[in-house]
Amino acid sequence: MAVLIDLNKEKADILKFTRPGDYVVFFHNLSGEFTFSLNSTGINVDIFGLYIGARSSDFVIRTKQHHVSSETTSNLLIKGVFYDDSRFNYQGLIRIENNAQKSHAYQKNQNITLSPNVFIESKPYLEILANDVFCTHGSTTGRLDQNQLLYLKSRRIEKEKAQSLLIEGFLGDLLRKVQEKIPQFDYNIKSYHKLAD
């Protein structure tokens, strides 16, 4: 079974994985610079980050998925919801060294903006020095899906409620993914959501 690492508790900047196995890293509203170094064949690391920015919160985060050994997999997903004057500055790097053939690396950053005063900066970088690899990254930033909002409206769900339903769904998706790997993982999305209130 996968090993869970809660970055908010670990307080580590550099995580060096040296033994084969499945690892899950989770963090929320964390600023800092984090390196995930995959130093042995057969390592799979899932990295999940959750951000809720409200008022004047200001997050600056750097991540580095560093594939040093061959046949390693890393999969990063960072989701954020931003209200008020909050700021989010993300720079994520996937670096695959020449020796790390047959590695797979994924990186995804999805942000929802809920106020015209937010500032989002997303820099998903790739540095690939091996050829027999597969890497993708994606980044989306935007408002809530207007079609989904319209649908809920047509079902007579008032705007505020519809909005929070969609946000819960958006963030809940990430939490479910963690739970798929770590069944005992339990986070109350509602209590998270209150952070923004």
């Binding site: 015209p116 937010v118 989002i120 900066e121 790739l126 990254h137 930033t141």
Partner: protein, 464 residues
Amino acid sequence: MNQPNLNFNYKYGFSMPQKYVFKAKKGLNEEVVAAISTMKKEPVWMTEFRLKAFGIFKEKNMPNWGADLSRINFNEIFYYIKPTNKQVNKWENLPKEIRETYDKIGIPEAEKKYLMGVSAQYESEVVYESVNKQLSKQGVIFCDMGMAVKKYPDIVKKYFGSVIPASDNKFAALNSSVWSGGSFVYVPKGIKVKLPLQAYFRINAEQFGQFERTLIIVEEGGYVHYVEGCTAPVYATDSLHAAVVEIIVKKGARVRYTTVQNWSKNVYNLVTKRSRVEEDGIMEWVDCNIGSQVTMKYPSCYLMGKRARGEVLSIAFSGKNQHQDAGAKMLHFAPDTSSRIISKSISKDGGRTSYRGLVQVRPGAKNSSVYVSCDALILDDRSRSDTYPDMKIKETDINVQHEATVEKLGEEKLFYLSSRGINKTESEGLLVNGFIDPVAKEIPLEYAIELNRLINLEMSGSVG
């Protein structure tokens, strides 16, 4: 499987004996800048512009990001060479060597087909130029930049340096102080130029930097497609190419700018290309980088008016000792603006490709949408591919998407082709051409054919 490196004999790597009317001294100082301006019999305002830009150039630092530029020595370069005394408008009147050079590239053939205006740049001055009569009748101006400064001072003075000021970056400052050649295009209101305008560029002197300057202005509702293709002979010492291209797209106008860059593999190609797009305007950059040692080029669109649209389609190919650091910039200033960037890059034989992009959504650019897609192929284990997209968003009612993939050629596809009796080299060429096809099909036919041929040449035999 691992054959030795393809020692690709650069097809256009011939050089002609040099024959010049005037050649500036090596190196750069105020006297050289002033001498260039005097030689070109320029008005005082341009001389002042050059000298001011030179001051900025001296102060500006080299970029501290991107490709390695440490080997550029600004004092080892000739900044101005004038090949013949006057411009000629008949093919037969061109000097023999120049004609031979062009023959090898195939300019006359291309012209016979459907080029309406060929403006061929040999060294720093445009020496061969034929503008279709119909163009002039429509009021379209297509001439070399030096001539435009003299003949159309009002338009030039108004727009020259307005999109890319000399202070923009070190190489824009350098270009602003020593520029020569390049094209000037002016399309009046409502005029749609049906066939593409084309210019061919060559560098033919050792250690000689080419600093052409292009300015395109398309008035309300107008349209033009400008095509720039480059080939250059091989020399042992590094050559510097620092062009500046400024484009103004007025309300409802549309401009397409296509480049096929195939400088020889010792050229530093450091180019600033930018467009200003007004309401309902459309700007499209099609940018193919095959040659050069180092290219740093990020065509950009400043979307200033409502519903303005910007598009960059880019292909980069890096072989041995090459670094293509190319990309695009999209800056959204107005509501309902949209942009799209499609980048395809291929690295091989130790080459390195970097996609570097910037997307900025400014406050007030409501309902803007951005789509960026970067795909990279790495063909062997010595090559490298990077993706550096920056997105800065200061607005809420928007939609910004970015995606990128890096992979090798699909083994299943290769296997399928081999089962159909197609050999490996050919299959790889096919797949690479298929990979770039979404961009290549946007290029005028004869350039697309040339591109296809170049890719096949680059691919032949050496993929591991």
